[in-house]
């Protein structure tokens, strides 16, 4: 990946002083998983360009475990776009190669760092959701933004454009330090991939780099969210921060549906929530928890507990004596374990909760003897042909006193502008039912297994469409 910085400030060669890199030499530094080469393709008094070429060693990337983990697609670990795109590796290289410039110091020309310079920068190539997104992030900072989209495969025009852009920024007068800080923060935000190098110190450094301009940026929330999203994996303090401010954790429906959002691997059942806005999911969980409170259930099953958001609510209900929370994904359970701080729970609380792996498609004697079962946004992740087995497991064998099933309401989908007709809200949804379909299914299940059922809208109701989600309450 390549970054060039050009100035027409007079004398343009001042850029060399500012960057603390001699324009007449090629300089090479070792950086994470590769090398950063700094050189000047042009260096005249009129115009001077510094280039930072980052060569990532793909073999070393794997061996140092700095590359993608390849979850969901094993080969991704070995074959990926990291050697070609601007990513957190570039931010790290910037910080190392242009350390003094980023800190705004210049021993030889102390006045230069604070001088506003005409600057141009080119990034080849920058991953982004859209050209518009690049505009939105860099525009407010005073740049003239020029983007060049690249096709995914020129031999297959119907595949359209890739998520890679050549980005050209122009600014009439800006401190070099600011340009570098903008790039340093916004590159990983745009790349939206894990920052493999970020530790706690790095995360704070980043917040520091954005400290001056980020609070005034209209997209500050998006930038912070994207940034913190990945630092959460390595920084428990930030994670705790996140879990308390849940409205920072999820993307909007637009982002999750854009083809560029490839960061969420398709293998997380409980994480199937990215498709909805968070407030809807909260609403859903609050509603289910409220039903369980109303019913006074003592022993509760949470089938498909994901990271434990419903469990957290259920633990707060004094009448709930025991919760058996199951998920089919081991990873989700580990996440739940962390998010709920199970290891540190006081013994009495700990006894009220069992987290375990389970599947709604296998008979499981552990499921018997519960007052209520919550099955929140689970059935739409099963192939329709397997629902009969789900029905056997839950309604014929486990037979909880009450079963609460929620699923998206397909009637409501036309309200989502970004959702093409017939498209589902989440790539792992196997079906999305209309209110009539869900009601028919629920009625059949209830009749076959001796339950009464009522189906209700869940969420704000739109005339003629119903609510975004729907809830079936089965009672024996």
């Amino acid at each position: 990946m390549l970054l060039t910085i050009t100035t027409t400030h007079q004398p343009a060669t001042d850029l060399g002083y500012l960057l603390h890199k001699n324009p007449s030499r090629l300089q090479t530094l070792d950086v994470a998983a590769g090398q950063a080469h700094v050189f000047y393709p042009e260096a005249t008094a009129e115009r001077c360009t510094a280039a930072l070429l980052l060569t990532i060693d793909p073999v070393a990337l794997v061996r140092s475990h700095r590359g993608p983990a390849g979850e969901g697609f094993a080969l991704e670990q070995y074959v990926n776009d990291r050697p070609y795109v601007a990513s957190s590796f570039l931010s790290a290289a910037l910080a190392k190669a242009f350390n003094t410039a980023m800190n705004g110091t210049c021993k030889d020309r102390p006045e230069l760092p604070d001088t506003l310079l005409p600057l141009m920068a080119t990034v080849a190539v920058m991953p982004a959701a859209s050209a518009e997104q690049l505009q939105r992030l860099f525009g407010p900072l005073g740049y003239e933004v020029e983007t060049e989209a690249h096709p995914l495969d020129p031999t297959v025009p119907e595949w359209g454009n890739s998520r890679y852009f050549t980005l050209r920024l122009r600014h009439a007068g800006l401190r070099l330090q600011d340009l570098l800080s903008h790039l340093y923060v916004l590159i990983p935000v745009l790349d939206n991939n894990k920052h493999y190098w970020i530790g706690k110190a790095e995360a704070e450094k980043l917040l520091h780099r954005g400290g001056e301009w980020l609070p005034r940026h209209p997209e500050r929330e998006f930038i912070t969210r994207r940034y913190l999203r990945f630092s959460a994996y390595v920084n428990p303090t930030l994670e705790r921060l996140l879990s308390n401010e849940e409205d920072l954790t999820d993307d909007t429906i637009e982002l999750a549906l854009s083809p560029a959002a490839n960061a969420a691997p398709a293998t997380e059942l409980g994480a199937g929530e990215a498709a909805d806005t968070l407030s809807l999911h909260d609403l859903r969980l609050d509603r289910v928890a409220e039903e369980i409170r109303r019913l006074g259930a003592k022993r509760v099953l949470d089938l498909g507990c994901g990271e434990g958001k419903l469990v957290r609510r259920l633990l707060q209900l004094p009448h709930v004596e025991h919760i058996l929370a199951l998920d089919v994904s081991w990873r989700e359970l580990e996440r739940a374990q962390q998010r709920l701080h199970v290891a540190e729970m006081p013994p009495r609380q700990r006894e009220r909760l069992t987290l375990a792996q389970g599947s709604v498609l296998y008979h499981d004697p552990r499921l018997a003897g519960y007052d209520a079962a919550a099955v929140v946004e689970v059935i739409e992740h099963l192939d329709e042909s397997r629902l009969a087995t789900f029905e056997q497991v839950v309604f014929a064998r486990a037979r909880p006193g009450v079963v609460l099933v929620t699923t998206p309401n397909a009637d409501y989908n036309q309200h989502y502008e970004t959702l093409a007709a017939g498209q589902f809200r989440h790539q792992d949804h196997r079906f999305e039912w209309t209110q009539a379909q869900f009601t028919a299914w629920a009625g059949g299940v209830a009749e076959r297994h001796g339950y009464r059922v009522r189906v209700e809208p869940l969420g704000p109701v739109m005339a003629g469409l119903g609510a975004p989600s729907q809830l079936a309450v089965f009672e024996r």
């Binding site: 390549l2 060039t4 007449s24 030499r25 090629l26 090479t28 080469h37 050189f39 000047y40 393709p41 042009e42 260096a43 280039a51 070429l53 060569t55 793909p58 073999v59 697609f73 080969l75 991704e76 670990q77 070995y78 074959v79 990926n80 776009d81 050697p83 070609y84 080119t122 080849a124 190539v125 690249h150 995914l152 495969d153 031999t155 297959v156 595949w159 890739s162 890679y164 050549t166 293998t267 059942l269 089919v328 994904s329 081991w330 792996q357 389970g358 599947s359 498609l361 296998y362 008979h363 499981d364 099963l382 192939d383 042909s385 009969a388 087995t389 056997q392 497991v393 064998r397 792992d428």
Partner: protein
């Protein structure tokens, strides 16, 4: 004369009873294996570091009971070395014996206090014992003597004084009566007769037995002579009497056969009721007993006495044929087989009931067979059924002859059913033979198929050890099973379709040739080292691996796979996922394949109405389009967009004459070229799929048809057989080019190597080298079922655009194929096992266990590039 030997049942819980110092430990060590003894002193030492720490007694006994329980569960004779003088101490142990259906035995070491006290004084660690201890223990012992039988001890040996204790030299371990493992049959197992004499004679005759009446010579002679077909014996499942017209004749015939060694017999509940009557007990004349009483009225007292003795001698159930066959009147749970207890006997007679009473006033029977997991085949009767049906390796062959049904026999080991119809309805059943109505489509499934609708999570989770024909045991680690549970639950098809998952395939060892990672030479070397003469080289198609399970029509699919309303077949990926997402395309594809099979006369030729194929479905982009776009095309797009920009800037810098820029430019240009080759490599395997006309199926193994697999056929046979089918639809089906190579013929080897070079130069993925025989025999170790040799161009999409650049290939050569090969063998063994179980008619969970195992092993961390 003191006893020199004691007889015990081979599986019993032996309690040594005696005061401290009575010599129990010495006695136990002298007569039992060290591992059979569980001692309270030792348990105390284990939990307290001190054999005499009395404060640890509760924990010590908790441990003792735990150990005893585990041993009994596993069917091991166990000796409890503790004083056992108090009834409450014995009670827990007797309960353990009952829980595991083991007979409790007491051996009392009744030694004078003086002797015991002297012994204790001689032992330093017993110095602390109070003076009152030994007399008190002995007193408790004396009090226990009267109650031991009542407490449940079947065998009680009372050894008086040290002399009698020392006189015992051996313990004789009696096999349980039910243990007839050495008896291998063959048997003709006959269900409930209930006095249906004519039907019984007809059935026996049909099976080749000769039944001759003759004059009674003396009182022991029952007046019937039976000749059995060579080597065969009848095996009666009990309920010989009641309800029917001729119970005494049936008894006479069966008793005569048992006496003559032509039959074995286990008792039924009706037989035992008759025994109680003959023993003078009050018996209610219900359920057809009145008829028996009336029929017996004209019989002689001698005969009645013979019947009494016969019934009294019947053993609740038999374990036969090395443990592979269990017979009992009403069935037998796995943990009760070959054990002895009141509960075992009751189960054998009455089976399992829920305690509820149904609308006909009869006890509600619980179908124990639905939870049966045992290895032994269980044949039983007791509950009349319209049709005998296998369920979890058990079968009920009571077809209600006396109610106007049939009298059925199961021939073992052939597993054939033979039946004769009842001449008439002798008795109206209280409860209709067919139970509650079920939905019409479900009713057409067998009991096993209905049962298989729901698999049990306990059969797949946790650490699994799977016995296979090819490898003695394949271990599935718990975390791999956890990963497989997720994949299976979220993505896989209805498990009834999943007969087989293909094993992973290792590449050949890394080539030493410049510019190459793989070359056929290493594959040939491997098979040569394995002592193979011939291999088969098959072109490797670059598509998606699929398994096709296809029936002739939907009826056949329902009959054989037990699926309703899911079409005649499925085409699924290596992870059990449906290949097709569009139902219409799937249907069209399967129909075309059915037509080709019909045109090839396949169904008749192979005497089957279904088949299972291992194949490659092309193009790669048909299934992998999203992956190709998001991964392969994306990488190429990023590279081809980024690198020209870098080359331009470097060229500009180079023209300024900067030192070192030349080399960087050269390398960046090389990467640009590599990126273009990379893009060309993946594009070769992609073409748009708009309809069936764009799909190609290249089958390479015919895995199974009705009743058999084809792992015994060589690969040339597979290739030719499949070519014969492919001929009938060349637009859809592609016969795989192959060649047979003699590894010792240099010309053969060279020609095959050239073939590979040509294939890969033309952009082909490469080839697969397989042993000539599917499973080469006569070897100690399993040989890799296949090795792949992939081409230089193809490997770009596996190892990345830059893999051939200087500095990269050298490092990439360090790859280890051993783990991958190990995995391939285990998955192969599981795949073969699963399919063999399926064609043998095993319950789904036994097939699913293997398929699940392959999926679990696939989550082992191995280099995905191999």
């Amino acid at each position: 004369m003191p006893l020199t030997s004691l007889k015990l049942p081979e599986l019993s819980l032996v309690l040594l009873i005696g005061s401290s110092g009575a010599g129990k430990s010495t006695f136990a060590r002298r007569l039992f294996q060290a591992t059979e003894i569980v001692s309270s002193d030792q348990c105390r030492a284990l939990v307290a570091d001190d054999e005499n720490d009395q404060s640890a007694t509760p924990e010590a006994f908790a441990l003792l009971h735990y150990l005893v329980g585990l041993r009994l569960k596993r069917g091991l004779l166990t000796v409890v070395d503790a004083t056992n003088v108090q009834p409450e101490a014995r009670k827990t142990l007797v309960q353990l014996a009952r829980d595991y259906h083991v007979l409790p035995t007491a051996i009392i070491l009744d030694v004078p206090d003086r002797v015991a006290e002297d012994r204790n004084r001689a032992r330093a660690e017993r110095q602390h014992l109070g003076r009152h201890v030994v007399p008190q223990q002995r007193q408790q012992l004396r009090r226990s003597l009267k109650t031991l039988r009542q407490e449940g001890f079947r065998h009680v040996y009372h050894l008086h004084g040290p002399e009698e204790v020392d006189a015992v030299q051996t313990i004789i371990r009696d096999p349980l009566y039910s243990n007839r493992k050495a008896d291998t049959g063959p048997f003709d197992i006959i269900g409930d007769v209930h006095g249906c004499y004519h039907e019984l004679v007809a059935l026996l005759t049909q099976m080749g037995y000769g039944v001759h009446a003759e004059l009674a010579q003396d009182t022991r002679d029952l007046g019937v002579r039976v000749t059995a077909p060579a080597g065969r014996r009848a095996l009666f499942l009990g309920d010989l009497v009641d309800r029917g017209p001729a119970s005494p004749q049936v008894l006479r015939l069966v008793m005569s056969m048992v006496q003559g060694g032509q039959a074995l017999c286990v008792p039924g509940n009706h037989d035992i009721k008759l025994l109680r009557y003959l023993n003078g007990k009050q018996v209610a004349e219900k359920h057809g007993f009145a008829e028996t009483v009336a029929q017996l009225a004209t019989e002689s007292e001698t005969f009645k006495s013979q019947v009494r003795q016969f019934l009294d001698g019947l053993v609740s159930h038999y374990v036969l044929d090395g443990g592979k066959l269990v017979v009992a009147h009403a069935g037998m749970r796995e943990e009760m087989q070959g054990r002895g207890s009141g509960a075992v006997r009751a189960f054998a007679l009455f089976g399992e009931t829920t305690g509820e009473i149904d609308e006909f006033g009869l006890p509600v029977r619980y179908n124990w067979a639905s939870e049966y997991r045992g290895r032994a085949t269980v044949v039983y009767g007791h509950t009349p059924v319209p049709e005998p049906e296998w369920l979890n390796n058990t079968i009920d062959i009571d077809t209600g002859c006396v109610f106007g049904g049939r009298l059925t026999a199961l021939r073992y080991p052939e597993r054939e059913l033979v039946a004769v119809p009842a001449a008439q309805v002798y008795c109206e059943p209280v409860r209709p033979l067919r139970p509650a109505e079920v939905a019409a489509d479900v009713a057409q499934l067998t009991a096993q198929q209905q049962h298989d609708d729901l698999l049990d999570i306990r059969d797949v989770t946790g650490k699994q050890m799977i016995k296979t024909r090819l490898l003695p045991s394949v271990t599935i680690r718990e975390e791999n099973a956890a990963a497989a549970l997720e994949v299976m639950s979220r993505f896989a098809l209805n498990p009834k379709w999943l007969l087989y998952l293909p094993p992973t395939m290792s590449p050949s060892e890394t080539s030493a040739l410049p510019d190459l990672l793989e070359h056929p030479a290493e594959a040939f070397d491997y098979f040569r080292r394995q002592g193979l003469e011939r291999v088969v080289c098959e072109e490797k198609h670059m598509g998606s691996r699929v398994v096709v399970v296809l029936a002739r029509d939907e009826n056949a699919a329902r009959r054989r796979f037990g699926v309703v309303g899911e079409g005649p077949g499925k085409c699924y990926t290596r992870t059990g996922r449906n290949f097709f997402t569009e139902a219409a395309l799937e249907a069209a594809f399967l129909t075309r394949l059915q037509e080709a099979l019909t045109a090839a006369d396949f169904w008749e030729r192979f005497q089957t109405d279904w088949l299972c194929l291992d194949a490659e479905l092309l193009p790669w982009s048909a299934k992998a389009q999203e992956l190709i776009k998001s991964q392969y095309a994306a990488v190429a797009a990023a590279a081809t967009a980024a690198l020209p920009e870098a080359v331009a800037v470097l060229s500009q810098a180079s023209s300024r004459g900067l030192d070192g820029v030349e080399a960087l430019l050269a390398r960046t240009s090389a990467r640009q070229t590599a990126a273009e080759h990379y893009a060309a490599a993946y594009r070769r395997y992609c073409w748009p799929v708009e309809s069936l006309a764009d799909l190609r199926l290249a089958p390479f193994h015919l895995l199974a048809t009705e009743g058999r697999t084809y792992f015994d056929k060589d690969h040339a046979w597979h290739m030719e057989t499949l070519r014969g089918i492919c001929r009938h639809d060349e637009a859809l089906l592609r016969a795989t080019p192959y060649r047979v190579v003699n590894l010792h013929q240099i010309t053969d080897v060279e020609a095959a190597t050239q073939w590979w070079a040509d294939l890969t130069a033309a952009g082909g993925e490469g080839m697969v080298v397989k042993p000539y025989d599917f499973i080469p025999g006569g070897r100690q170790h399993l040989v890799q079922p296949a090795l792949k040799c992939r081409g230089r161009e193809y490997l770009r999409i596996i190892y990345g655009p830059d893999y051939l650049l200087p500095g990269n290939l050298e490092r990439l050569r360090e790859r280890a194929v051993k783990a991958k090969r190990n995995l391939a063998l285990r998955e192969f063994a599981l795949g073969v096992e699963g399919l063999e179980r399926f064609v043998a008619g095993a319950p789904l969970r036994e097939v699913h266990q293997c398929v699940f195992g392959v999926l679990a092993l696939e989550s082992e961390a191995v280099d995905p590039r191999l």
